[in-house]
Amino acid sequence: MGVDAMLTHQSLRRLVEPGRVHRSLYTDPQIFALEMERIFGAAWIYVGHESQVPQVGDFVATRIGLKPIVLVRHEDGKVYALHNQCAHRGAMVVAPEAGNAHEFRCCYHGWTYHTDGRIKSIPLQHGYPACLDPKDPKLAMVQVPRVTSYRGFIFASLATDGPDLQEFLGYAATSLDDMVDRAPDGEIEAAGGVFKHAYNGNWKLYLENLCDAAHPLFVHQSSIEAAKAQADTVHSDGSGEIAVRQMRQNAAPYSFWESQVGIWTYTNGHSFLGDYHDDAKLVAAMNDPVFRDYIAKLEARKGKERAKKILEVRRWNTNVYPNLSFMSQFQQLRVVHPVAPNRTVVYTYNFRLKGAPEAMFEQTIAFANIVNGTGSLVLTDDLETYGRIDAGLSSEGAEWLQIGRGFTSDTADATGGVRGKNSTSEVYIRNMYDAWLTYMTGEGQPVRAAAQ
C-alpha cells in the first residue's frame, strides 16, 4: 500500500489501525509536511519558560515546527511570540539565540520593530504607495496568535481558535504542578545550560521512546553492564556516583516495570510514567544530607503535611504532545524540534528549584549529563536506535509497525484518562496516534476501543 498522491482524510485514517501503524508515518515527506501544518500549526507548542525572559526586552529564539520564532517580553510585561521574519524582504530579523533589546532592526534595509512586533520605523517610507499601512498587524514581525503560560511554562499556538491551554493540557498539567511545587519558594528557573542533540530519524520516535519501559534492558545493556561492574571504591566527586547509580537503575527487570510502575494517558496525546522511583532509589536519596536539607527547607516553607504530599508524587517522564517531555521529579525538560521526516533536534533544559540547596542543583546537572547528555553513556544508544529505525524503514520489510502491547488491558482511570495495565503497555503510543488522527483528520480513534 502506498500513500495516495493526495492525502485525503480517508487515506490518512487507513495508516493508523488500533494496534499498528503504517511505516510511512515515519518517512513520508508529504505526511511530514501535513504534520507541520495540522499538528504543529494547531496544537499548543511549548516555546519556553518565563525565567528565560524575566526582564522587559529579554528575548530567546525558538521555533514552532519548522518556523523560527522569537519569544520576547514587551514593555507591557507580556510575552509575545513573533515570527522571526522581516515584513519587507523576508530576512530573519533577530540573529542571536538570546539577548535583550529595546527594538528589533532588520539588517537588510533597516526596518525596525517594537518588541511586540509592530513596525516602529520604515526608512524611505515616503517611497511606498500610500496604501502601505505601518499599523497593519500583518505588516509586522507577525505575532503568533495565541501565547499563554501555565505556571511559568509558555505555550504558543499558530491557530487562532481551539481549546485553551488549560483544556489542552488537561490532567497532564499536574505534572507541571509537580515540577513547580517541589521548589520551596514556589518558583523554578531554567538554568545550567542546554543540550542540543540531533539524530537521523522521525520526531515521533523521540516521544515514543520516553515512556517506553521495555527498552532499557536492551538499548542500554552496555551502560548497565559497565555500571554494574564499576567499583564504588574508585574516586568520585559525586557526579560519577549519580551517573553510575542511574545506569544501574536501568537494569530494573521486567517484573519491576510490570508490578511497580504505571502508565497513564490523556486526551490530546499526553501521558506519563508514574510511581517510578521512590526517593530512596535515585538522586535524591533520603539519607543524602543534601536531600535532607532540601526537605527541611520545603517543610519550613510549605508545612510538613504539604511537603509530604509534594514528595509523594513520583513521576518519571511526562509527554505533552507533540513537542514536550519533562521529568518533574528531576527538573529536566526536553523540547522536540522536527527538522525533516528523518531528522530531529532535541533541546534539553534543567531547572533550579528556588529555595532549594545549591548542592541539589549540582545533582540536577550531574543527572542531566547522564540522562540527556550528548556524550552520555546512556543517551547515545537511544540516538543510535532512532537512526537504526530510520535505516530499517528504508527497507521493504514489514509494512506495519506494532504498537499493540497491552492492547486488550487498557482501562479507564479515575483521573479521566486511560491507563495501561502496567508500564510496559504501549498505550501511550496508541494514545499519541489517537491525537495524531484527530489533528490530521478531525476525528480520532479512542485508544480504549479494543478493550470494550
Binding site: 545550567g192 540531533a198 551502560s223 564499576q230 560519577g240 534543567n350 550531574a366 549529563n369 552520555s376 544508544d381
Partner: protein, 162 residues
Amino acid sequence: MIGDSSSREKAEAFLLREARLLDEAQYEQWLALFTQDAWYWVPSQAGQTSPRDTVSLIYDDRRLLETRVRRLLNPSIHAQNPPSRSSRIVANVTLETDRDDGILETRSKLLLTEYRRNRLRTYAGTAWHRLVRDGKAAFRIASKRVDLIDCDGELEGLVVPL
C-alpha cells in the same frame, strides 16, 4: 630542567602517545594514563567555568571515566556497532605552566575525524591537559579539558573520546 624546551617536547610526545592510543581504540591503556582522581571534561558552552553549575557534553570523574571505558569495550554498545575509526591530529602544543612540583599544563589543538557507517564527522577544538610527572620519563593526566568549537551547536551523539 623546569621550563626548558625538553619539557614541552616530552609533554608533546606524551600527548601524541595518548592520541595514538585513542586512534587505535586502546581504551584501557588510555585510561591508565590518568591519575586516580583525574577528571575528563568536554564543556557544553564556550568559556564554561564549571562542570557543576552547567551541563557538559562529557564530564567524567575517575569513576565515570572507568565506566565509560568499560562500556566502550562492551560488545553490546550499539552506538559502536559497527565501531568507529578515528584519526587525530594533535598540534600547536604549548607549555602553559611548568611548576617545580612536577605539574605541567599544556594547550594543544585537536582535529579529530571519525568514520562510521559511511559517514565522516569532524571535531575541532582546543585541549587543555594538566599533567603530573610520574617518574623520570612519564606523565599522568590529572585533568583533561577539550573545548570544541561547536560545543553549543546541535550535535549527534559523542561516543568516541576526544
